[in-house]
Each structure stands twice: as C-alpha cells, then as structure tokens.
C-alpha cells in the first residue's frame, strides 16, 4: 500500500466521498468520516514530506500504462513545487470539518471529492491525467456552491462553471497540440509532462497553444482581467468552498503555468512573460484598490485574495530562481494567511449573521483570541517580516526587480496597497466601539482555538525559519533556470533577458 502513497492520498478521499454521497448516513457521521479521512491524508502527507529528498526530479513516481497506443499513462510523481501545494491542501483541509456547525452530508462528500481531485491534479505527471483531475476539481465546487451557497448562488455558480469550462476547452486543444508536436518530432506518442518539457516550441501555432493554456490557467488563478467570476463565487460560496477555492485551487492554476507552460514553451514564454507580469501587477493594484471600497468583509477578502494572486503570478513570470521559489513559498503563505482569513470570516458570519462591515465593531475587546489569530493571519497576508508572507513577497519583489525594474517597483506597491484595506477592515471590525451585531461576540472555544493553532504556528515558523522549507523547493525551481538544453531544438533566437538569466543563474 505504501508503495502507492500518492494514489492512496488521491483515492482515499475520492472513494470516501463517493461512499458518503450514496450511503444513508447522518450528517454528524458524515462530518466525522470527513474529518477522519482528511486527517488520514494529513498523516500520509507528513510521510511524503519526510520522505521527499529534494533531488529536483519527480519522486514517489507511479507509472501504469493507460492508453498505450497514445502514450497516455496513469503517471504520478511530485517535485518540490507540487509537494508544497499538496502539503497545503493536506494540512489545511481538516480544519474545515472542525470549525463550523454541522451541515448537509453532501457538503462533506463534496469536500472530500475536491480534496482528492486537487491532490490528483498536483500529483499527475501525465497531461491527460492532469486534465481529468483538473475537470473533476470543478464538479464538487459546482455542487457545493450551487446547493449550499448564499442567496445569489445560482448566477455565481453558472458564472464560475461556464467560465472555467470555457478555459478548460482551450487547454484541451492546447494539450492535444503539444502531443501532436511531440509525435511529429520524435515519432512516438506521449502525454508525459516531463517529456513535454523537452519540447521547445515557437512560432504562431505555439503562441496560440500557449495562450490556450494561459487562458485556462489565468481563469483559475484568476489573473486580471479574467477574475470577474471570483467576487461573486467567493462571496456566495459556503466558507469551506471559498477556502478551498482561494487557498488551494487558485494555486493549481499557478502550478499549471509552472509545470506545463514554462518548460514546453520556453522561448514563447520568455517572449510574453513581461505581458503576463503586467497582467499580474495590474491585477494586484486593481483588486487591491477595489478591496478598499467593499462593504462586505467576505467580498473584501475575495478581492484581497485576487490581489495577492497577482503578486504570485508576477513571481512566475519574472523567470529567475528567487522569484519562482518565492512564488512557491508565497503559495503556501497565501493559503495559510489569506485563505485562513476566509475561515475567520466564516466564523464571523456564523456568529454575527451579517457580512456587512458597518454592522461590526469592537470585537477585539469581546474576543481577544479570535482577534489575535485574525491579526496574525492578516499580518502574514500583508507580508510582515516574521511571518511566512514576508519571505515569499520579498523573494518575489527581489526577483521581479531583476526581471524588470518597473515590474519590481509596481510589485513593491503591494506593501502599501495591502496594508490600506486590511488595516481599514481591522479597524472597523475589531476596533472602535461594539455594535449590536458584535456586542456579545463569543470568543473561539478551546477546540476552535486548537484547530487554528497549527496554522498560526506554521505562519510564524515559516517566517522565522524558512530555510528547511526552501531547501525542499529550491532544487525543483532552480532546475528551470539551469542550463536547459532542449532535446528538440527549434528556437533560433534567444531573447537577451533570457540569455542574461541563463548565464547568471548558473553561478
């Protein structure tokens, strides 16, 4: 069984989720089963983390041919990049079962399904398999949002589903193009992500395929201007769904860019990187500015999440080892800070029955522990040194400055923009005088506090002693900038920016 650790981590929640869906169980049982399974995945993930040796190559590889005639395989494996997204989902999801009041059975079933699918997506080493999990991820979200969402759930559900599927179709076409190109050049069929990395496609068709992938990923991340599904979906979705969307699923979009697009389209990617980096910073500013005008705290956090995703995107497109490593680090930091803020928002909503900032105030004096935890997550989200948020953001800004000074400076603006809306929110909700809705706000119970303690500690430990984490990431990210000699050399021109990168990164 332990030879197939990744498979177990993928299919344990999926099978459990399916059983929950069809077995006549009570809500409480469903909740307990969900919690148990997610804990089991957490335990397994710790095993994976401990066993991960950071060679820069795929580890924990599983390979079973699936459709041999087309070279499609059930092929799993993780590197330092997938590891951290995997860990984030394994560590964070158990909290969801503890924190909120018992809900419908289907809700827990869908949570399990989405966990399995997300883990599958980051473990997949085959494009078709990746695509399958990518699509499967959306289904539980569709049901959770559509069935258990807020009053305006239907339009929100339609928008996120149709929008994402539209992107997925483009991706399907693009990945078919990759396989065809690979076949044309080598004479064999394969959908292996690793092998696609040996391709180095350029030209108009390649650019089209690049944009096919990029639009799919940009919708998921979401990258400006493809973010318009986000505020509605994040606001209307039940807390757990928003949390899953923001903390992990968005990151799988970034992961796709790093894993699939960057290696396969090296030259074209370098050509359009500046364009995408601008999309990132514009998105950061746009969503950050919008956040300050929100009257609904969940919506404010939704824009904040989108704004931070802009920074993460900049890290990917800056194309140097500092920025990319910072991106992976920031992915986890964002999950544990901005993602976790949604959990706090969920608790706020559950206890005050309002999402309006104007109705709240003075919670810090009513509920000091809640306020303290919220403040720590908030400070991590604005990148205060000593929290995980700083390390990632600093590395991204550093890398962005090298890539392009203007991008670097604009990325730096997030230091200011983030603080503006967050302090404003904190002031209105936690400081000032209590209002009726927040007058008797109950502080976190010991069990709830205990559920948050690991993630709060993680925020601090990752900020104070990031070295052990970075050591697992760096070999995988550094690989992208090592002397990459494509087997199938097609490119004729090397852009100066890339050439400079390649030479300096070797040192």
């Amino acid at each position: 069984m332990f030879a197939h650790l990744l498979s177990v981590m993928i299919f344990l929640p999926i099978v459990a989720g399916l059983i929950l869906l069809f077995a006549p169980l009570s809500r409480t049982t469903a909740r307990i089963v969900g919690f148990g399974v997610s804990l089991a995945v957490l335990v397994l993930s710790i095993d994976v983390y401990a066993g991960f040796t950071a060679t820069g190559k795929l580890e924990f590889v599983e390979y079973i041919p699936w459709i041999p005639s087309l070279g499609i395989a059930y092929h799993l494996g993780i590197d330092g990049i997938s590891l951290f997204i995997l860990m984030a989902s394994a560590v964070l999801l158990p909290m969801v079962y503890v924190l909120f009041g018992t809900r419908e059975k289907g809700y827990y079933a869908n949570l399990l399904l989405v966990e399995g699918a997300m883990i599958g997506a980051v473990c997949a080493a085959d494009l078709v398999l990746f695509y399958v999990f990518w699509e499967v991820m959306l289904l539980p979200v569709f049901f959770m949002l559509g069935l258990y969402g807020g009053p305006r759930k239907i339009p929100a559900t339609l928008k996120i589903t149709l929008y994402t599927i539209a992107g997925s179709l483009l991706m399907l076409a693009a990945l078919a193009y990759l396989a065809v190109q690979y076949h044309a050049l080598t004479g064999e069929w394969s959908f292996s992500i690793e092998k696609m990395g040996l391709l180095d496609l350029s030209g108009h068709a390649a650019a089209l395929a690049l944009f096919g992938f990029m639009i799919a990923f940009a919708i998921k991340i979401p990258l400006f201007p493809f973010h318009t599904w986000l505020p509605d979906a994040y606001t209307e979705a039940p807390t757990a769904t928003t949390f899953v969307l923001s903390a992990i699923m968005a990151k799988i979009g970034v992961y796709g860019v790093i894993r699939v697009v960057m290696p396969a389209f090296e030259m074209e990617f370098a050509r359009y990187a500046l364009f995408f980096a601008y999309a990132g910073v514009i998105g950061m500013m746009y969503c950050g500015l919008t956040a300050i005008a929100q009257k609904d705290y969940k919506r404010l956090l939704a824009f904040s999440s989108a704004s931070h995703m802009g920074i993460i995107a900049v890290g990917v497109f800056s194309m140097n080892v500092q920025a990319l490593t910072g991106t992976i680090y920031q992915i986890v930091a964002h999950a544990t800070s901005t993602g976790v803020l949604f959990l706090f928002a969920g608790i706020l909503e559950e206890r005050t029955r309002t999402r309006s900032i104007n109705d709240l105030g003075g919670i810090a004096s009513q509920a000091p522990i809640f306020a303290l935890f919220f403040a720590i997550a908030m400070l991590a989200s604005v990148g205060l040194p000593g929290t995980s948020g700083f390390i990632g953001e600093f590395l991204i800004i550093l890398g962005a400055l090298k890539f392009n000074v203007a991008i670097g400076v604009l990325t730096g603006l997030s230091l200011i923009i983030g603080v503006c809306y967050m302090l404003w929110l904190f002031q209105r909700v936690f400081f000032e005088k209590s209002k009726t809705a927040s007058e008797r706000f109950k502080d976190l119970s010991p069990v709830e506090s205990l559920a948050f303690v690991p993630v709060i500690l993680l925020i601090l430990v990752m900020g104070i002693y990031p070295h052990p984490f970075l050591r697992k990431i760096e070999p995988s990210t550094a690989q992208y900038f090592a002397a990459a000699t494509p087997v199938v050399a097609q490119a004729t021109t090397v852009t100066p920016a890339l050439a400079a990168d390649l030479t300096t990164e070797k040192n």
Binding site: T228, P368, F390, L413, Q427, F431, P466
Partner: protein
Amino acid sequence: MEHSTFYLGMIPLYPLLGAVCIGLFHVLTCKRWQVPPLVYGLLACVGPAMSFFLALRVFFELRALPLDARFFTYKAFTWFSVGDLHLDMGFLADPLSGLMLLFVTFIGTLIHVYSIGYMSGDKSYAKFFAYMNLFLGSMLILVLGDSPVVMFVGWEGVGLCSYLLISYYSEDRDNVLAGNKAFIVNRIGDLGFVLGMGFLFWAIGSHGFDFLSLKANAHMMTESSILIVCLLLFVGATGKSAQIPLYVWLPDAMAGPTPVSALIHAATMVTAGVYMVARFSFLYVEVAAAGMIVAWIGILTALLAAIFGMFQDDIKKVLAYSTVSQLGYMFAGVGVTAYSAGIFHVFTHAFFKALLFLGAGAVIYVLHHEQNIWKMGGLKKKMPITYCTMLIGALALAGCPPFAGFFSKDEILYSALANGHFFIWLIGVLVAAMTAYYTFRMIFVVFHGQPRDQQAYDHAHEAPLVMTVPLIILAIGALFAGFYNLPAIFGGEQMISHWLAPSVADQHPHDSFLLEFFVIATSVAAFAFGLWVAYKRFGKGAEEPVFTGFARFAYHKFYVDELYDAVFVRPYKAIGAEISEGVEPNMTDAPVTGIARLYMRVGTLVKVLQSGYVRVYAIYMVLGLGIMSFILSQSLN
C-alpha cells in the same frame, strides 16, 4: 568563537520571550481570575533588564578588542538561501550597534519601570506590556541585525508595535486612525527600503548580503547605482524617522499612552532612520549628492517642525514636533558625513527626550489625562521633582551648556559649517533659537505663573516613586551624557567619536578652534535669545493666545494633513470606489456578461425556427434539397 558570542542572540530574545510569556500567561488566566497588574509589570521588566546587562557585556567585550577588529557576530541559523541570495539570522556587534544597544536597553528598562506606575489604572495591562516587550525585542533586532534584511525584520516589527500601541485605546476612532496612519506612512517608507535592498542585492549582494561583505564590496558599485540605493534607503528613513514628506504620522502617534511616546516615538524607534543611514555610511560617503539630500531634508524638517512646535497647545504635540525637529538635526549631521555627531545626538536625545516625555506623562497622569497646556500652570510647587527633572530636560533640549543636548547639537552644527555647508548651519542656528523658545514656552506655561484650572491644580500632587525615580535617573543622563563626547576645545577626548570610528565613515574636518568657538558662541546666543523671548511672553503667566495670520497657518500645521488627505487619501478611496462600482461591472466584466447575453439572444432567434410544426420542417427539407441540388448541378457543370 561561536559559544562565546551566543549571548548576542539572547539580547533580542529576552524581551521577545517576555512578550510571549506575558501574552500566553494572560490568555490562559484572563477568563478565570484577575492577576494583579504588578505581576505583569515586573515580568515585563525582566527581559529588558537582562538585555541591558548583556548589552553591558557586549560593550566591555568590544572594548577589549583591538581597534581594527572591534566587532563580533553571532549567526543563529541560516535564515534563507535561494540562488545566490544567502541570508543568516545573524547579529553583529560593533561599536555602532554596541552604543545603540546600551542606551536602548537602558532607557527601555527605565520606561518599563515607569509604566508600572503610569499604567496602573489600565484595564488591559498585560496587553500593554506584551506590546512593549515585543517592541524592545524588535528594536534590538533592528540594531543588531547583521544584514539589511534582518534589520528590516526589526524595522517592520517596531512599526507594527508602534501601530498596536498608538491604537491602544482602540475604542476611540481617532486613535485607531492615528495608528493606521502611522502604519501606512511607515509602509510607504518601507517600500523604499525594500527596493533599496533589492537594487543593492543585484549590484553586490551575491557576494554576501551582510553588512561586512557589503562594506567590503561597495567599491564594485557604480556611482549612480549607489545614489539610487542611498536615496531609496533614505525614503525608508524618512518614514521611520518622520522626516519631510513622511513626518505627518508622528504628531498623531501621540494618541498612544505616554510611556509609548517616550520610548517608541522619541527615544528609540524614530531614531532608527538615523541609525540606518549611519549603518550604510560606507555607501553614503561615496556619493556626495546623497548626503546632501539627506542633510537638506533633515534641516528643513528641523525648521518646519520647530515652526509647528511654537504654536501647539497639547503638551505632547509640542514634544512630538520637537522630536521631529531634533531628528532633522540628526539627519543634517549624518548628511554632512558627521555620522558620529548624528549618532551622538541620537544618544543624548534619547535621554532628554525620554525624560521630557515621562515628565509630561507625570503631569498628564496627575491631572487625569489633561494634555492642554492652557489648562495647566503653576505646577512647580505641586510637583517639584517633575519640575526639576523636566527643567533639566528642557535645558538639554534647548541646547544650554553644559547639558547633553548642547554638545551633540554643537557637534552637528560645527561639522556642517566646517564641511562648508553654510546655509545648513545657519538654519540650524535659527532652529536652535526656536527650540529654546518653544521648550521654555511649554515649561513656563505648565509650571510657572498661576494655575489656570484651580480645581485640577488643587488635586495635583507629585507622581509616585516608581515614576519619579526613572525621571531622576534620566535627568542625570541628560545632565552628563554630553560629556562623553566633549570636544577638544573643552579639554575633552571625543570619546564617542573615537568609539564609533571603526563603524562609521566619518569625514573629519580639520579642527579649528576659532571656528569651533564661533559656532559655540552663536549657539549659546541663539539659546539665550529663544529663552529670553519665551520668558518675556510666558514667564509670568499668560493667557491662551488667539492665533491670526501666519500663526494661525502654523497652528494648523500649514494644512499639510488636509493637503495629503485631498491629494492622496481621498483620490485613493475614490479610485477604489470607482473601480468597484464603475469599471468592474461596466468594463472588466462586460465582455463576460456580454457573451452570456449574446448566447441567450442567438438562442432566442434560433428558437423561432424550431416551431414544432411538421409542415414547417417539410419546407426546410424542400429548401435544403433545393439548395443542395443547385450546388451539385453547379459543381457538375
């Protein structure tokens, strides 16, 4: 060496642990029983005191080292390492950080003791002390950090504590707004710091990003890149040290409890910018223009703040503007490459400004949180210790020989003139006169004359011992701190300048007794003039003035806050609202909803065709067959 420098890491750790302990202890006990406040107060004093003793040890160990190798480091662990960026959580003790350590921990400890008295009636006592300890820990990281990034950890940490303590009385909206303002304005500065670090890293950081390596490799940088780095770092300094144009947060920061104003917003944190420039002096000396910008911003801030200080009616605001003004002097000092003079002023200022704030705090405490000087008067008789100690502080601030402030200010003014910056010196002298004026205006109005509020006066009494003892200790400091750097003209040895020489890149002008004598004479004259005007106006009691004309303009601080509000804050919010309500639905989201609507419309159109009647479909079939046979016949021909 490793084992013997280990304690360097403990210096910031003790207060940080103190903060964690107080916090945990409070969280675990607050719901069950009431812990007597004194427990927290004493607990809070332990960390700073331990750090102070370790700081003494650092000092003596440094002194034992030979002059050219007077530093040691402690690397706790590899902090992070990515590509060619390598950072340790490392601490550096050298003469500069050693001196800062000494007085930061010393004054920090005193203020903690004082706070036991001042905060005695407060509800959330534990929170206050946890924040204070957290602050001191961050400040010590800032001072000891062996690389710009570790320094930045402390730099932002003190900013956070500053925010938390300004908005300490968080029920009042204005206090929270003041806290937000401090945090955001500081963040604007921090952006400069971060970008400065970024450029510095890409220039020479790959050979080691700690201060010692940077210093060794600074020669590899081009002049223009040094200038860019220096200016960006200085943007950071203007934020933290409240210089033009980012000074606006400091006066508002007085919303916090008075010990906070003394420790954070006068004695330690706000001088971090000066410390940082001195730390990077190896860069600033390379490019004269960078130093000049620093010096001019500094001296103009000194002037502006002194103008504002002359018209304030809140005792803490007077002191706040005097802090901004004195910080301006310090920057003028480091700007004209007299780094040791600037740091010397940081050192003396810490004593007398902490003293003045704590004295003001004692007054505020006994008057039940009255801060308006026009409600005070004649307190001399009721509070003799506070009066005497504050008088010493005032004399030191105003630059009266032989009090501490005189020597350090004189050193700066002398360096400015000797290095050929006549106008900086001239403005400096002018500000000196203004400083004497507003300082003694405050002293006269508060302590002399007749009581203006008889009822408050009757209830006034001397502050408790736990508050007056720190005042007395600080007063001794304010009296004698200046002697540590006595210039040669008074037979001194300039101990601090010599001490700092290995750390900072001072450029010494040739000593000229005549010039020095001239500078001293003008400074004393300026002090005497300011004192005289203040005495004439307020010495024997005065009524609250009604400001008109320029005075009114200055009373309202030239409407700078209003200007910033109109130019930055409001547009920022308006843009946010505009994007949220206008751009997002009508432009960004329009294509998406547009496509959806188009799809619906096409669907409606096509729907008409599918009527469900067989006869209609028969017509379609006939039409289709007709078209097909037409095409077929065409193609066959």
